[in-house]
């Protein structure tokens, strides 16, 4: 069996794949956080809970209505996005113009409510969610066996990230979003319904988190706390990447995921903290973040 630095190569590739998958989720979630923060100036602490809701929506759709993975991939984001729109209309909206800390505290409270309620109803243990039949099994890539579902997640998340990026950079809606991020009042003075844009952006960001949740369900199991532990890591990713650049958020997500995977191979004890350590180093060397602008 071949080895690299004394590590058997299949194990190495396996961890890189796991790193890529974790990175896919970091990228999708930090992307949503960055878009929401850019326009609403709110750090959406509920992002992790919305990811969890997405996974639970898929699980509940299957368990109670017999609706499978593929429809859930659309339905779960729609449901979670709708909930988010209600939250924006009735709660977040009242906090615009105040210290952004209040937005953080409100969404933190909402995250506690969602997670507490699901924990109360479904217990803390993870619930299995089977991948769809078309994506079960594994393929031999020559250097390793790759479970098909995992390959699908990496590809799907890339498509989602690039799609979101194109939406923001290349469409009219994206132009509204970018310009409103710079100067929302002026964009509204041109006749763009900015309040609606804010609502849609929050809904879209939450839907993105929910989509990530559905993709994650067959890999990590569905549990009430799956989001919060993840969101804290994503916060670190966001601090490393800086929130000024959408592309920066995506790239940072994947890179940190892979670095985390590699750490698991070479120094497993540190794998759960490596992203935080990288964050600390970045803060020392380049406080504004790798792609960030100092505000």
């Amino acid at each position: 069996m071949s080895t690299i630095f004394g590590i058997p190569t299949p194990a190495l590739y396996g961890q890189i794949l796991i790193g890529l998958i974790n990175g896919s989720f970091y990228a999708m979630l930090s992307l949503g956080l960055a878009v929401i923060f850019g326009l609403l100036r709110v750090i959406n602490f509920a992002h992790g809970a919305q990811y969890m809701l997405g996974a639970f929506a898929a699980y509940l759709l299957l368990t109670y209505l017999g609706i499978g993975y593929w429809p859930a991939l659309i339905l779960a984001p729609v449901i979670v996005g709708a909930v988010a729109i209600v939250i924006e209309r009735f709660m977040l909206r009242r906090l615009y113009g105040l210290d952004p800390l209040y937005g953080l505290l409100l969404t933190f409270g909402l995250a506690l409510i969602m997670e507490g309620a699901f924990r109360h109803w479904f217990g803390a243990a993870g619930k299995p969610y089977a991948p769809p039949a078309q994506l079960t099994g594994a393929v031999n890539l020559g250097f390793m066996f790759m479970p098909i579902y995992r390959g699908w997640v990496v590809i799907a998340s890339l498509v989602v990230c690039i799609g979101t990026w194109l939406l923001i950079e290349k469409t009219r809606l994206g132009a509204y979003l970018r310009s409103a991020t710079e100067n929302a009042t002026l964009v509204q003075a041109f006749g763009v319904n900015v309040p609606l844009l804010l609502t849609l952006t929050y809904g879209l960001g939450a839907a993105l988190a929910a989509l990530a949740g559905v993709l994650a369900a067959p890999i990590y199991q569905v549990s009430p706390l799956m989001g919060t532990n993840l969101i804290i890591i994503v916060f670190a990713v966001v601090v490393v990447g800086g929130m000024g650049s959408i592309l920066g958020a995506i790239v940072t997500g994947y890179v940190l995921g892979v670095l985390e995977g590699l750490t698991k191979v070479f120094y497993p004890e540190a794998s759960s903290i490596v992203i935080f350590v990288i964050m600390a180093i970045v803060l020392l060397v380049r406080p504004a973040g790798l792609f960030g602008r100092e505000e």
Binding site: L105, L106, G109, A111, L112, I113, G116
Partner: protein
């Protein structure tokens, strides 16, 4: 945010009133263990002190730390270890907890103050989560079990802390000392500079203050006082576990302060008391505590951002204005 203390200082009448209220409160605290469970009261005192320490940072420097559990829970581990494994005298153990929390505060604060506002909060959260992971893995914390069966021992080798009343009065003394220390810090020249930074950081910089040093100083003091609360808690409850270092705990202390009144002297005490009492009460029911805490968060942020004490002070201020 901080209407409380300054306002009281400017109003002689109110100052007398607040002295009277303070006297009554002190008498109540002295008499309380004869009417309520001492362990319940001590729990309130520890968390109220924790909230006051946290408030030193958010209320007077305007920095929202989302990682104060690291100092509270970290100190609990240090104290518990020193007392149980090394056989230290309890006060010395608590002091070690304070020193450890201050050291942690120096490291986390040094990194976190490099960014402002919302980023500061995210960084403190991430670093405290890292500390929680470390606590899960290093041997001396005993992972999921935590450090159990910490002996209360004899204070200075004399006072037997296994006696509930003795433990209570020692805790009360530590609490009063901590609150007094915070009061002194806030009303010192140092505290005034902190408030100037909170009001207008750029102006403070242009006046020649090395703002980062003041922020870091306040951060370390706040961490040390949170450590005082955490170390004391380890002696009172005789254990230290992961619960105290995790993000939920950071959230709870934010809630206590927000509910009572950010930037007021007694708000965090009121908030701490309420939250602990509520948790105690709910323990008997099936309703999930986390959900309730979340609901209180949402209500506070949407409806009364000044907190209970802050709103009362605002009302009094308006009344005084109306009368004058």
């Amino acid at each position: 945010m901080a209407v409380g203390t300054q306002y009281l200082a400017e109003q002689p009448k109110l100052r007398t009133t607040s002295l009277v209220i303070g006297g009554i409160a002190l008498a109540a605290l002295l008499a309380a263990p004869f009417f309520l469970y001492p362990i319940f009261l001590m729990s309130i005192l520890c968390f109220a002190l924790f909230a006051c320490a946290f408030n030193l940072l958010i209320g007077y420097v305007g920095l929202l730390s989302f990682g104060h559990a690291a100092f509270f829970g970290g100190a609990a581990y240090f104290t518990a270890h020193a007392v149980k494994v090394w056989g230290w005298e309890p006060l010395a153990g608590i002091l070690l907890g304070v020193a450890g929390a201050a050291g942690l505060g120096l490291v986390i604060g040094f990194l976190a103050i490099r960014r402002q506002g919302i980023y500061f909060s995210m960084i403190t959260l991430a670093l405290s989560q890292m500390f929680a992971f470390i606590c899960l893995q290093v041997p001396f914390t005993h992972g999921e079990d935590g450090i159990q069966g910490v002996p209360r021992g004899h204070l200075l080798g004399v006072v037997d802390l296994n006696e509930p009343l003795a433990m209570y009065y020692v805790t009360l003394a530590i609490f009063l000392f901590g609150v007094f220390a915070i009061w002194r810090i806030v009303n010192s020249p140092f505290g005034n500079i902190l408030k100037a930074i909170r009001e207008n950081e750029r102006r403070a910089i242009s006046l020649g203050y090395r703002v980062d040093r003041y922020k870091l100083g306040a951060f370390v003091m706040s961490a040390a006082l949170a450590g005082l609360a955490g170390g004391t808690k380890a002696i009172v409850f005789q254990f230290a576990t992961l619960t105290d270092v995790q993000w939920q705990m950071s959230g709870e202390v934010i809630l206590m302060t927000l509910l009572g009144g950010i930037g007021t002297m007694i708000g965090p005490i009121v908030g701490g008391g309420l939250v602990i009492a509520l948790q105690n009460y709910l323990a008997a029911y099936d309703f999930p505590v986390t959900v309730l805490i979340g609901i209180i968060f949402v209500i506070c942020v949407l409806l009364f951002r000044r907190g209970i004490v802050g709103e009362i002070l605002e009302l009094m201020k308006r009344k005084a204005k109306g009368a004058a």
